[in-house]
């Protein structure tokens, strides 16, 4: 196999890797906020249940969650397994990452001092206004480094999708490696991941800079 065919084949897989990456972020970032708010709910039952769910999602391997989301419905209810593997893969990734994002958001929100809420109340802000206009902008600034951390991890975690036969870049790389008995595909994969991560770093750096409006 020529290097060109190898790279082309893996680039084809890279488009699927990108699909997992972007779709996971699109769904998990808002979902995480929702989960964080549930987690901080004053209602003991809601916050307790959410806490339990988060601990299950963070305490079991992503690989297992991928299997559960893909094949669980079939074994439990006889639901046909989706032919488009992207759907269960993105659902599993989005749920898993939402759990991590939720804890990051919670840390950010709880780091804002109580005095600010009291000041806002005195100034006549409603609760929603206080959260959206005063608290959230500060939270986003504070949590950006942790979010970047998770996003970079996600770049590499996409390779986990091989568990359910989703043909993303690393899976194809492994197939080429085994058919050609060569380690070159792993090198190509490494370069792909590194470049991908460099682009993500660049984009996140831009966003952080934009948010740095006070300095």
């Amino acid at each position: 196999m020529s290097l060109w065919v190898m790279v082309a084949k893996m680039a084809e897989g890279l488009t699927r890797t990108c699909a997992i990456f972007f779709l996971t972020l699109i769904f998990s970032l808002p979902l995480g906020m929702f989960v964080a708010l549930l987690r901080m709910s004053r209602n003991k039952i809601i916050s307790g249940v959410t806490r339990f769910i988060i601990s299950v999602l963070r305490g079991t391997p992503l690989m297992l969650q991928l299997l559960a989301v893909t094949y669980g419905p079939y074994y439990l209810f006889g639901v046909t397994v989706s032919r488009n593997k992207l759907i269960p893969v993105v659902i599993a990734f989005a749920i898993n990452y939402a759990a991590y994002f939720a804890e990051i958001y919670r840390g950010g929100i709880e780091s804002i001092s109580k005095g600010q809420y009291e000041a806002a109340e005195v100034l006549g802000y409603t609760k929603a206004q206080t959260f959206l206009r005063i608290i959230l902008p500060q939270v986003i600034k504070r949590i950006m480094p942790s979010v970047t951390n998770e996003v970079v991890t996600l770049v590499k975690d996409t390779s986990m999708a091989f568990t359910v036969s989703y043909q993303e870049m690393f899976t194809i790389g492994k197939q080429i490696a085994n058919s050609q008995t060569s380690f070159v595909p792993f090198l190509v994969a490494g370069v792909f991941y590194f470049v991908f991560k460099a682009i993500v770093d660049f984009a996140m750096g831009k966003i952080e800079k934009k948010l740095n409006y006070y300095n």
Binding site: M1, A19, F22, Y71, S165, Q175, N178, S179, T181
Partner: protein, 261 residues
């Protein structure tokens, strides 16, 4: 920034739709072959970037005979029976060792088509000439293969003499462990060892068969009819010489094909 974001969104949407279009709901005429894409020479990614291999070519020819639309599904070997159950493929046909446990679970298994044996691959000049020389040595084996099962079960007396068994998730890693000196031998299916030795100098296969087994095709429970049809089509291929013609392309395995004996 906004523009860039909207372009990225659009790209993702197009991609996900493209992915949707790739596979349709299982039609009546479609035959989906489940393969391990990392198992040369039976099923692997060919030089042109398409799946090929002995099993793939035979299945393709059989589907042509039966008028089926041929499609490949890449199984995750550890989960192959789950994926078969879940109707992601109609059969698992990829140098698969027939195990009694499969029949006990109700899977329909075709007549065996390949006599396999497990062999030990060692470095030339290592001084290892039989399995007895492996006492105190490290032996690599692929996770989820019948070789691993043998070492844990029937050959557990032998594996007890090893210093340890090194379990890798692919053959390539087993061979690399051997080449790199971390393992002293690889316990592997004969055809895989043979194709490796033919491409790489400095390795030999020990002349000692450690466990005979046969390859077959697995279908879901209740798919006896489909199994019969495929077996029939393969029999026709044997009769009209197509089978031998395809087999000739894979010299490493041709001697062990049941239908050509």
């Amino acid at each position: 920034m906004k523009k860039l974001l909207s372009i990225m969104f659009a790209a993702v949407l197009v991609l996900s739709f493209a992915a949707c279009g790739a596979k349709n709901e299982a039609g009546s005429n479609k035959f989906i072959m489940g393969i391990d894409p990392e198992y040369p020479p039976f099923s692997y990614l060919g030089d042109d970037g398409n799946y090929t291999g002995f099993d793939v070519e035979i299945c393709k020819a059989a589907c042509e005979k039966l008028g089926y639309e041929f499609e490949v599904f890449e199984v995750n070997w550890d989960e192959k029976l789950v994926q078969l159950d879940a109707k992601e493929c109609d059969c698992v046909w990829s140098g698969m060792t027939i195990l009694d446990s499969m029949k006990e679970e109700g899977y329909v298994i075709s007549a065996p088509y390949f006599d396999n044996s497990q062999v030990l691959l060692v470095k030339e000049g290592s001084g290892i000439t039989s399995s007895k020389d492996l006492a105190g040595k490290i032996v690599a084996v692929q996770l989820g293969t019948s070789g691993e099962a043998l070492l844990n079960d029937e050959l557990s007396d032998l594996s007890a003499t090893f210093e340890s068994v090194l379990t890798c998730d692919s053959f390539l890693k087993c061979f690399t462990e051997l080449d790199g000196g971390a393992a002293d031998a690889v316990f592997v299916d004969y055809p895989v060892a043979a194709s490796y030795v033919s491409e790489h100098a400095g390795f030999t296969i020990l002349d000692e068969e450690l466990g005979g087994e046969q390859y077959g095709i697995a279908f879901r429970a209740g798919d006896e009819e489909l199994c019969k049809k495929i077996e029939g089509a393969v029999a026709e291929l044997v009769k009209d010489g197509t089978y031998a013609k395809i087999a000739a392309k894979y010299p490493d395995i041709v001697d062990s094909l049941v239908f050509l004996k």
